[in-house]
Subunit: 388 residues, 2 copies
């Protein structure tokens, strides 16, 4: 059911001619009747795409109220200058007219190649097919989640049933993974009645250990966007319970992204414990996850802890090899900076799994952090060598 | 001639049984008669290898005077604990006895796999073959430069003939590129009479735009070491002239490393100008050089400037797409954040070359910086998937 699992939302997916060949390339999520309270997190990229500029502007104008979100794939509308901004405004105006709301109540998410003019004329006629298809049904939800896929191999949807309310969501792509994908987008919905301020607080807490802890190639795209909308039909809820449900939804979508990352054969969780503080633990996990050498060894199913030790020792955080333990799948392979006796067959069996876990205990304090990442293999390079 | 080009030094290379199969795996550089003034720069890795710990300790004991440098390849002697340190001390003691100097006047550089006990017993008998082979000849210099090669495809040597003095050098490997290589090592020599303090100042200036601007995979190995020794036979020289010659020698060796980086098909110079200051320019160039997406597109000879723009816009430095120009081989392909008309055939011809240049002008200030890097292709992954 994804984004339409909570009451108060409809969705649709369609082929509007951006990609061509009848491929699904546009999704619409609409709040019933009135604009919903909303919050969003955007890329920190200093060259944000036109849809990011437009959505920021619209949220400021409406005081974070959103009636509809249009998502398109096949062209990022990034590095497209004034013409790109005009195309974004035109898209949101067309949707507003069809839905029957203000232009500023529409947000826009786009993904695809950077630096190519957006084919507005090709897209406009198809765009009008979206609103008539809006439904609250599992089919419509999956159709929308499918329409934002690019090189994803499965639609990424989530439903969290909490005590008295529901959080639903859909997402595409992890980080900048392939030329026709180029970004991560996520839309979350809830029937819990939450103010836009509280949505913002909860979203900020939820993206930290999920989307912001997902590191495939270290790139922060021009288009990354996460949006949450509240219809309020389920009434007021406990803020902590809501934050917990939203966090669970975001984590599930982030795990799906790691699992389905383009060209990857492994999804990997790198956990650092025993750091002097949480920030250090996160920084250490990020350094290991960024290491091409570690990622290559994961591709080869080789538990080469020496590289993990070398990376954590150059992460710019407090660490001492003598107090450090490195484990794969819970099995310690290095203690005190040197090799530790271990069950090599058990480690080999873990390395052969699709999900691999590397645990680094620095033995210094109570700080902990985790990063989701992938291996690095031929597939990633083949996807990214050329744009053609 | 490399390290023996300046008067006052002899060198040798030999197979001492670390790698096995009669492959060259040890080099020795020795100052004639007395210990030479020296300076060194070591890895910032918090888990430094045994040879790095030993060399730091020896330099402190002697007040930066060095008679001999032993370099071995095939085993990094890193993450090897107390036994590794004992092996390092034994190696330097054996060399000291053969050369006829104090143990503390010997430095040690090692490279290879991490976390494998060093095969001291295998190496000791062969070690004694080094001193009898010491010579001041082109053959001996090249033999030494060859003995530290691992997956390098050519010996990296340099000779800079300055006004009244000479700087020579040899090096291996760029960053952590392959499992049996795992580090970069460089030894430089000069006949200019320079105090160890002045050698240190000159070396610090020289490594910035050379070895410290060489970024292949972002890894700072456990073993990285650069050492410079002065025999003084050419007498006192102007400090600026010496720094200039030493910098030229280091840059030539760094360029050789980029050109010969394991698994790379392209050597790439990324130059950022117009930044608010030099540090920002360097940080921006480093961010672009670290980008897997940019590196993949270089492998595909695809001048995908959108990724370059996206990376420089997330480098954490002052930048504005509207003032930014991106060029490949001096040909502007993007201005003001959007595509610029250009001679596509000329850009394609540049992309087909072995050396590629990407120039980013931020249009803000006078800051400039450059990074040497490589593309990312199947070869890198194949070298690094497994240690076997």
């Amino acid at each position: 059911m994804s984004v339409v699992a909570p009451r108060g939302f409809k969705a649709a997916g369609a082929a509007i001619g951006i990609k061509g060949g009848g491929r699904l390339d546009a999704a619409l999520v609409v709040a019933d009747d009135v604009a919903a309270a909303a919050a969003a997190v955007f890329t920190q990229n200093k060259a944000p795409a036109a849809p990011v500029q437009l959505s920021r502007d619209h949220l400021a104008k409406t005081g974070n109220r959103v009636r509809a979100i249009l998502l398109t794939s096949g062209n990022a509308n990034a590095a497209t200058g004034i013409e790109g901004l005009a195309a974004a405004e035109a898209l949101s105006d067309y949707v507003a007219r069809d839905v029957g709301c203000k232009g500023s109540e529409v947000l826009l998410c786009q993904t695809g190649l950077i630096g190519i003019p957006f084919p507005l004329t090709d897209a406009v006629s198809g765009l009008h097919r979206l609103v008539p298809q809006l439904e609250r049904s599992a089919v419509a939800g999956t159709q929308a989640a499918t329409a934002i896929m690019t090189t994803d191999t499965f639609a990424k949807e989530v439903v969290i049933e909490a005590d008295g309310f529901v959080v639903g969501g859909m997402a595409k792509g992890a980080a900048m993974l392939a030329p026709d994908m180029a970004t991560m987008l996520a839309v979350l919905t809830t029937d819990a009645a939450v103010s836009s301020e509280d949505l913002g607080r909860a979203l900020h807490a939820a993206v930290g250990p999920s989307f912001n802890s997902l590191l495939v190639d270290g790139a922060t795209s021009t288009n990354d966007t996460v949006i949450v909308m509240s219809s309020g039909t389920a009434g007021a809820v406990d803020h902590e319970a809501f934050t917990k449900a939203l966090s669970a939804a975001c984590l599930k979508l982030a795990e799906d992204m790691a699992f389905d990352a383009e060209g990857a054969t492994k999804a990997v969780r790198i956990t650092v414990t025993g750091a002097s503080d949480d920030a250090s633990a996160h920084q250490g996990a990020r350094k290991v996850a960024n290491s091409l050498l570690v990622k290559c060894s994961l591709n080869g199913e080789d538990p080469y802890w020496g590289r993990v030790l070398s990376e954590i020792a150059t992460a710019g955080i407090d660490m001492d090899p003598l107090t450090t333990t490195i484990s794969y799948g819970g099995i310690a392979v290095s203690r005190s900076g040197i090799a530790a006796d271990h069950d090599a067959a058990a480690v080999a069996a873990h390395m052969a799994e699709r999900w691999i876990s590397i645990e680094i205990d620095l033995g210094l304090g109570a700080g902990r952090g985790a990063i989701l990442t992938t291996d690095l293999g031929h597939g990633y390079i083949d996807e990214n060598r050329t744009t053609s």
